[in-house]
């Protein structure tokens, strides 16, 4: 029997109102940015307004015709796909190995790897390492250093540990080797953790910009985020050559808004479909029963 008491109704109403307000507050900057991106550069945005006076898609035309944005997109996609595929593959393999109780020196390896989660070399040693490996100006400088994240490894390992060893033993009795066990039995059962890892890694790669900034100097190989950063930050610092109005022309705010929208759109499109895996994945690593 559903409780239809006054307090329950009040609580429901209050809840609904609160969350609707929260949703509106979250949506507001996005709507503002969208309306900014379809306005013409002549509109003054000194006062914030939500509805544009004249809608125009000219800004998007300019943005999409910028070759650097095209290259940036491709570089970001390549980096994300390559990085995610490799990262998930290596992480799951490592997690599988570390989850087997008969792995020699398992505790040592676990401590060794967990140690890196707390201590890292820092910016300059990492930079020197990547440089000495000759990875500059290539997508590998963006993919290899962050190939295995310790936190993700531990979560994956915990998940794989929940798969009963009996399954593995029975496969081995039937003559399966280690790799067969991994690919035929463990992987199909680990789809939830693979989805989670893929999502985390993909989002991480898509948003990453600092490593691209320091390891890549060729304009055509920069990722989308760096291109966007350059466009958006234009005019934020006083230009040393700001000598007179004619010499300092700043990217209009409307163009910056269009750039941001173009960058965010792919993630926006993908997120609703993978959101449920995200939520599920958060709980995956927790202890069960």
């Amino acid at each position: 029997m559903r409780k239809t008491s006054v307090s329950a109704l009040l609580f429901d109403a209050g809840n609904h109102v609160f969350f609707i307000l929260l949703a509106c507050t979250t949506l507001l900057p996005f709507v503002y940015l969208f309306s900014l991106s379809i306005s013409s550069a002549e509109t003054s945005f000194a006062t914030i307004r939500l509805l544009p006076t004249h809608a125009t898609f000219r800004n998007y035309e300019v943005v999409l015709h910028n070759p650097l944005i095209g290259y940036g997109f491709i570089n970001s996609i390549v980096r994300t796909v390559l990085g995610t595929a490799l990262s998930v593959f290596v992480t799951v393999m490592t997690a599988y190995a570390l989850s087997r109780s008969y792995m020699p020196h398992r505790t040592f390896w676990l401590i060794f790897i967990t140690f890196t989660m707390f201590f890292s070399g820092g910016l300059i040693p990492n930079y020197l390492l990547v440089k000495s490996l000759g990875l500059f100006n290539s997508v590998w400088a963006l993919v290899l250093p962050s190939l295995v994240q310790t936190f993700q490894l531990i979560i994956a390992r915990n998940f794989i540990m929940t798969i009963p060893e009996a399954l593995e033993e029975s496969a081995k009795i039937d003559g399966a080797g280690e790799f067969t066990v991994l690919f035929r039995i463990i992987l199909p059962l680990s789809l939830p953790i693979i989805a989670t890892l893929s999502l985390w890694t993909a989002v991480g790669h898509w948003n990453a910009w600092f490593d691209s900034l320091i390891y890549i100097s060729e304009a055509k190989k920069q990722v989308m985020m760096v291109v966007m950063r350059n466009i958006v930050l234009s005019g934020q610092l006083p230009d040393v050559f700001d000598a007179s109005p004619s010499t300092a022309v700043v990217t209009p705010e409307t163009l910056k808004a269009a750039t941001i929208m173009v960058t965010t759109l792919p993630i926006l499109v993908v997120y609703p479909f993978v959101q449920k895996y995200f939520v599920k994945g958060m709980l995956i690593g927790s202890v069960k029963g």
Binding site: P104, L123, Y127, L128, P238, S244
Partner: protein, 565 residues
């Protein structure tokens, strides 16, 4: 069982092997690192020796570029975006000077960090563009950048030196960029005509019955009170204020204290001593006045977050949106009118933005004089005559002094003639730009370089900058005294009412204490203005400031000041 023991032993062996390999790998790396150390100190010694000798004839010859040799010069500059493919002007200058230019794309917004990384990795550019004085001093002291004897610079870049010496007082050039007779950096000049603007809403002044633009602090006070109480925009709503954060510059200036909403730490000379301006009793008087104004509702309550709400930094949204009637936001040229009669003349950015919303208001802008304070002092904040940082000469040039000579010749190019300057700024003459005579609002004609053909849409800095024009070839710019900009600034007394920070070098302990001291000062100032704390709290703040490291800075500043006299 057997198998398990055996595999355990085998894996143990493999682990040991892996660790040994790692140890070997690490050792060879350390050897490289340590071997580069003595090199660095060697260079600094060489630099000292050079300095001791002075510029002998042998030195001059050493720096002479070898005829016909194609030099490879690595280059950094104030880059707005990565260098364009087939950058037009890069090829032009490479052909002109017979060099090969290797541009190291250093993103401006993270320039310090990225430059540090590149230097740590051993890639030191020949033309090293640094943006802060701290980094400049560091690089020189660590031998990353080297000095070139002044006489050599005068031989190979005479026009550049001439411009520098004409536009910069000798003592300032000396303290910023010369060590032991060597030029260690080419500074970027501040503009002596530019300062914080003193901008009034002319239509509001008229509407509240003020006929004379305020000259004294009393008149200033009267004006801002009337802006608040007498509904100057006539909309029957109590939604206007006198001033906001940037306006404090004029108020502090009326007490002789330089202060700007972006540069809040300044040192002034009082009784032959270099003292910290923001803890002086005059600052306390100014704060007391501001506190009184805040209590009476004359200061915009949103002053804490500033007048700019995003986008181009120099826009004062509070002023543009009819919220305040007085501002010192941005610089004078952001509030300039159209200065020529040509069709595509543009006004300063703030005026341009304001015209979109309120053309009458924009047209009524008046530039006033700095208000005179109770002791007869007046002023607003202005930038020092040199900006921070500059262009330095990379370590590699010490080994190849003839390359340094070539670099100096290249840097001298823009200052050799007006045509050269415009070529370095805007591109190839008569292909990308041409001279155009425009009539200025002062009645004379001005010859300006105007983009032509397909390059009209390059007007503005981005495209030029990424094609190796604009800031790439020009270490510093000087305002032409015949230009409309100069004339307009002279008209609004742009070279007067300057109050600048008199400390011209970074202090050794500055980096250590800066964050904490800024926080203490910001909190104290805001709480006194908003009335949260009484004015007497100021003395407490001074004690706190000194205790948190300010005393040490005062000592170092006094030492620096003594060393410059």
């Amino acid at each position: 069982m057997h198998k398990k023991n055996g595999s355990k032993a085998l894996s143990g062996l493999l682990v040991a092997l892996a660790l040994i390999l790692v140890a070997v790998g690490c050792t060879s790396k350390t050897d490289n690192a340590s071997s580069s150390q003595p090199q660095a100190s060697q260079q600094t010694n060489a630099g000292d020796e050079q300095a001791a000798e002075g510029a002998t004839a042998a030195d001059q010859d050493k720096y002479a570029p070898i005829e016909g040799k194609k030099y490879e010069i690595s280059w950094t500059y104030y880059q707005l975006a990565p260098l364009a493919d087939n950058a037009i002007m890069k090829k032009y200058f490479e052909d002109l000077f017979n060099v090969s230019i290797n541009v190291m794309n250093v993103d401006y917004n993270s320039s310090e960090q990225i430059l540090n990384l590149k230097v740590a990795g051993g890639e030191i550019p020949d033309k090293l563009n640094v943006i802060s004085d701290a980094q400049k001093i560091n690089f020189f002291n660590q031998g990353v950048a080297v000095g070139i004897p002044l006489d050599v610079v005068r031989t190979y870049a005479p026009n550049m030196m001439r411009e520098l010496e004409e536009n910069l007082p000798a003592d300032i050039l000396d303290s910023c960029c010369i060590r032991d007779g060597n030029l260690i950096a080419i500074p970027q000049l501040g503009k002596p005509m530019f300062r914080d603007p003193i901008v009034w809403r002319g239509d509001w002044l008229k509407s509240v019955g003020i006929t004379k633009v305020p000259e004294t602090l009393e008149e200033f006070e009267d004006a801002v009170y009337k802006f608040t109480k007498n509904d100057p925009d006539g909309n029957n709503r109590n939604d206007t204020y006198g001033l906001s954060k940037s306006g404090f510059s004029a108020v502090f200036g009326a007490f002789g204290i330089p202060w700007d909403f972006q540069v809040t730490t300044n040192w002034i000379v009082k009784d032959n001593q270099l003292v910290y301006a923001q803890i002086q009793p005059e600052a306390k008087e100014a704060l007391a006045l501001l506190g009184k104004w805040y209590k009476d509702g004359v200061i915009d309550p949103e002053f804490i977050t500033g007048e700019n709400t995003g986008g181009y930094w120099a826009l004062s949204h509070a002023f543009i949106n009819n919220r305040i009637g007085f501002t010192s936001h941005g610089q004078t040229y952001h509030w300039s009118p159209r200065m020529t009669k040509s069709a595509d003349a543009v006004p300063g950015q703030d005026i341009a933005e304001m015209e979109k919303l309120n053309p009458e208001g924009a047209a009524s802008i008046v530039h006033g004089d700095a208000p005179i304070g109770p002791s007869g002092v007046r002023g607003v904040f202005s930038n020092p005559l040199v900006t921070q940082g500059g262009n330095m000469f990379g370590k590699g040039l010490a080994d190849e002094p003839d390359k340094a000579g070539k670099l100096l010749q290249m840097l001298d190019y823009p200052y050799q003639s007006l045509d050269n300057m415009n070529t370095a700024l805007n591109g190839i003459k008569d292909e990308m730009w041409a001279y155009q005579e425009v009539e200025t609002i002062f009645g004379n004609t001005e010859k300006t370089a105007v983009p032509i053909g397909q390059y009209v849409e390059w007007k503005g800095t981005d495209k030029l900058n990424t094609n190796f024009a604009h800031t790439a070839m020009i270490p510093f710019t000087v305002t032409d005294k015949d230009s409309a900009t100069y004339q307009w600034h002279a008209q609004i007394k742009g070279d007067q009412f300057h109050l600048a920070n008199e400390l011209l070098a970074p202090l050794p302990s500055e980096a250590k204490f800066k964050a904490e001291l800024s926080k203490i000062q910001e909190q104290a100032y805001i709480s006194i203005i908003t009335g949260e704390k009484p004015v007497a709290y100021f003395d407490e703040f001074v004690k706190q400031w000194r205790a948190a490291g300010g005393a040490e800075l005062e000592k170092e500043a006094a030492e620096w000041y003594a060393s410059t006299r």
